[in-house]
């Protein structure tokens, strides 16, 4: 198998980033936009060609997809423990290549319209290219350390893009929050990596993931507090993944990250970077599954299920449309984690794994579409809030239709993309854990409800009080919408299970009619309820929310998690720990250094009189020294 040209896919955006970043003052905005789009276009063509080549031509040997690796030694520690740099092509990484490049290309095209006239236009495209490069690197990583390096790189480009409007105080705060929260989670990831390196002697995915390999078979040989150390390591790695994928309780950064430009939210905080956590668990799936009989995997499932429910409840109450979409993203990511958590390994048992990747794929398409539509609406009326919107279907027909398609897709209406992947997740949950299945089903209903709540709120209902008449966005923005809408319609028809499965052999899936019917029915109930509440302006919704009383207020304030963390950080950590540490630092650490400096000054004040400036004094000192030395030499010599 020769897939070495894959290395070009990340290198092209890197080159674009360097060109735009180094010469950003000299390049005209029009040219920088085209440069970004062209670079991504080349990458996308290469990625699609790679996918065709891998899935249909050369990927399969003996009925199973092979892993293709090309790498070079980067750092050598011992004979076995070393860090490589390279590229790895297997079904999920090739699938991710398609997702990243297609969404990124659409966002690049869209941004040319959305960011038009922005003073930082070139800088924006440079950052987008940097992000795309890092994401490719993350997807193609061959070992834990390489993935960690690119993991931090996507974190930093996310930070740069969230804080893009750096004159806005809230954007700066949101960028810092996102960076600090994910960094905090990455500490767990790093410790997990080091534990794995220490106890298995390798960082390499291929060796770690081999079900017959020493890393997996020897899990029971170490233990710590009743669990295998490998289980602890996997849980710590999951903390890193949960931070990036905004799982409860590390979710607080994602809603605030909506301060960035909307295309950025579509690319980073809906479709690609936030699925990195899911991708990480999928990447290490054999370890999660085999070590300690999947103890860590169960935790993943429950965290995912809880987050799905928790975020969906909050999403219902929010009034900022981007925040609704952010909570919806969290909820769907929870779905993916849940699916991974209930998955088995071989053949049809691995349905959850395949469903998770399938949902990742379809979700990237329709969620990016939802965000881009929201961006189109925000572009037209310059507000994020539902109260300023309404009745836009007359003014923005294309946005209306594409938003409707995406909303139907996320609500799981057949035959759109979301239906197929969500159905597979629910089937997998039903087969392994009835409790999680019920949660999943309930969340499906909530999803349909909140997404149609904002759909009706934006495009139907009472017409907003617009200063200027809103108008449809330019072609550069609507064209990506139409392409993504097309992908959201047909994306679900791909026979995903033939290409992607936990054991890489592939299997056939069939629609489970009773379960699918239940899911669709629940989704339709959700849509129907929001039709009743929000299609025409009426008092039903308000009365209904009053019925929930305090619970509604809680959900509206996101269950006060931000306040709780602020309390812990400010009152306990800053006052208790940080302040005394600062005092110690000032008094003793700084005090020592300042004391040494002061003593030097004092001493030199006292002895500076020796420098008289008279040549003869110096000559006298020199000669006296020479005479004394001579006397000593003579004394030694004569004895």
């Amino acid at each position: 198998m020769n897939l070495n040209y894959i290395i070009l896919i990340p290198i092209v955006p890197l080159a674009v980033f360097l060109i735009l970043g180094l010469f950003y003052k000299k390049i005209k905005p029009a040219i920088s936009g085209y440069t970004g789009v062209m670079g991504l276009f080349i990458s996308t063509c290469l990625a699609l060609y790679t996918a065709y080549n891998y899935f249909f031509v050369i990927g399969k040997t003996d009925g199973a997809y092979q892993t293709f690796v090309a790498k070079t030694v980067w750092m050598n520690f011992t004979d076995t423990l070393r860090i490589d740099m390279g590229i790895l092509a297997d079904p999920i990484s090739v699938m991710m290549l398609i997702v990243v490049s297609v969404i990124s290309l659409m966002v690049h095209i869209y941004s040319r319209g959305y960011m038009k006239g922005d003073p930082g236009y070139t800088k924006y495209f440079a950052f987008l290219s940097l992000f795309t490069f890092s994401m490719y690197g993350l997807v193609l990583a061959t070992n834990l350390f390489q993935i960690y390096i690119f993991w931090e790189l996507v974190g930093v480009s996310s930070y740069l893009l969230i804080g893009y409007y750096y004159t806005k105080e809230s954007a700066v705060a949101a960028a810092k929050k996102a960076f600090i929260v994910t960094r905090f989670a990455d500490l767990g990831f790093l410790i997990g990596i080091l534990l794995i390196g220490y106890y298995t002697g390798t960082y390499d995915f291929e060796i770690l993931n081999n079900p017959e390999g020493a890393a997996i078979l020897n899990w029971a040989s170490t233990s710590f507090m009743g669990l295998s150390i490998l289980t602890w390591a996997l849980l710590l790695i999951f903390i890193g993944g949960a931070g990036k994928s905004a799982m409860f309780p590390l979710h607080i950064w994602l809603p605030d990250a909506m301060e960035g430009p909307t295309p950025v939210s579509a690319l980073i905080h809906a479709a690609t970077m936030v699925v990195a956590g899911v991708y990480l668990v999928a990447r290490l799936f054999p370890m999660y599954y085999f070590v300690e009989d999947g103890f860590a995997l169960n935790i993943v499932a429950f965290v995912g299920g809880f987050t799905a429910l928790f975020a969906a409840v909050i999403a219902i109450t929010q009034t900022d449309i981007k925040r609704v979409l952010a909570f919806s993203t969290m909820s769907q990511l929870g779905y993916m984690m849940l699916a991974l958590g209930v998955s088995g390994y071989e053949g049809h048992e691995g349905l959850g794994y395949m469903a998770s990747m399938f949902h990742l794929f379809t979700h990237a398409m329709f969620k990016a579409l939802l965000f881009l539509c929201a961006g189109s609406v925000i572009h037209a009326i310059h507000s994020n809030f539902l109260k300023d919107m309404g009745g836009l279907r007359k003014y923005m027909p294309i946005t209306n239709i594409t938003f409707l398609i995406a909303a139907l897709a996320i609500a799981g209406v057949p035959p759109l993309a979301g239906f197929w992947s969500k159905d597979e997740i629910l089937v997998a949950a039903f087969e392994h854990n009835k409790f999680l299945y019920v949660i999943g089903l309930f969340v499906a209903g909530l999803t349909a409800f909140y997404i149609f709540r904002i759909y009706f709120g934006i495009f139907w209902g009472k017409e907003g009080n617009y200063k200027n008449k809103p108008h449809e966005s330019p072609w550069s923005m609507t064209a990506p919408l139409l392409i993504l809408a097309f992908l959201s319609i047909v994306g679900g028809l791909i026979p995903f299970s033939r290409f992607i499965s936990a054991d890489k052999i592939g299997f056939e899936t069939h629609l489970n009619y009773p379960l699918a019917a239940i899911a669709v029915f629940v989704g339709l109930i959700g849509i129907g309820l929001s039709w009743m509440f929000y299609k025409k302006e009426n008092e039903l919704a308000n009365r209904f929310s009053l019925g929930f009383g305090i619970f509604y207020t809680w959900a509206y304030n996101k269950f006060y998690f931000d306040e709780l963390y602020l309390f812990v950080a400010k009152k306990i950590m800053f006052n208790g720990i940080a302040r005394s540490a600062a005092r110690f630092d000032k008094k003793y650490v700084d005090g020592t250094m300042v004391g040494i400096g002061n003593q030097t000054v004092k001493t030199s004040e006292k002895i500076k009189g020796m420098q008289s400036g008279k040549v003869q004094d110096y000559a006298f000192a020199f000669i006296a020294g020479a005479v004394i030395l001579a006397i000593i030499c003579i004394y030694i010599w004569t004895n």
Binding site: G613, K614, V615, Q616, A619, F620, I623
Partner: protein
């Protein structure tokens, strides 16, 4: 080689000459006097070169050559020093050491 006078007597004389130069260098307050003292030191060493050459290694001439070399260097050095002193005198109308001690703490 001077009959009746051994190397020790001559070395004693040059040592005395050397330390007179050193004493003068340290105690004189006039730059010209200091320069003269430096010349004394140099002369003491020149005599040493010649004497040691003559008494210990009469068959070679390196010591003699070296003494001529030192005389040339001393002449150049004196010319340089005197020019500095003249310039200094033009600036501050003095060649006393106590007037040129500005380069201190």
């Amino acid at each position: 080689m001077i009959t009746g006078i051994s190397i020790y007597e001559i070395l004693t004389v040059t040592s005395i000459l050397f330390f007179i130069g050193v004493y003068g260098f340290i105690t004189r307050t006039n730059l010209i006097s200091i320069l003269i003292s430096v010349e004394l030191i140099l002369n003491a060493s020149v005599v040493n070169f010649v004497i040691i050459n003559k008494y210990l290694f009469p068959e070679v001439l390196q010591g003699v050559y070296f003494s001529i070399f030192i005389i040339a260097v001393a002449a150049a050095e004196t010319a340089l020093a005197v020019s500095i002193i003249i310039n200094l005198y033009r600036q501050i109308s003095s060649v006393e050491v106590k007037d040129i001690e500005t380069m201190k703490y």
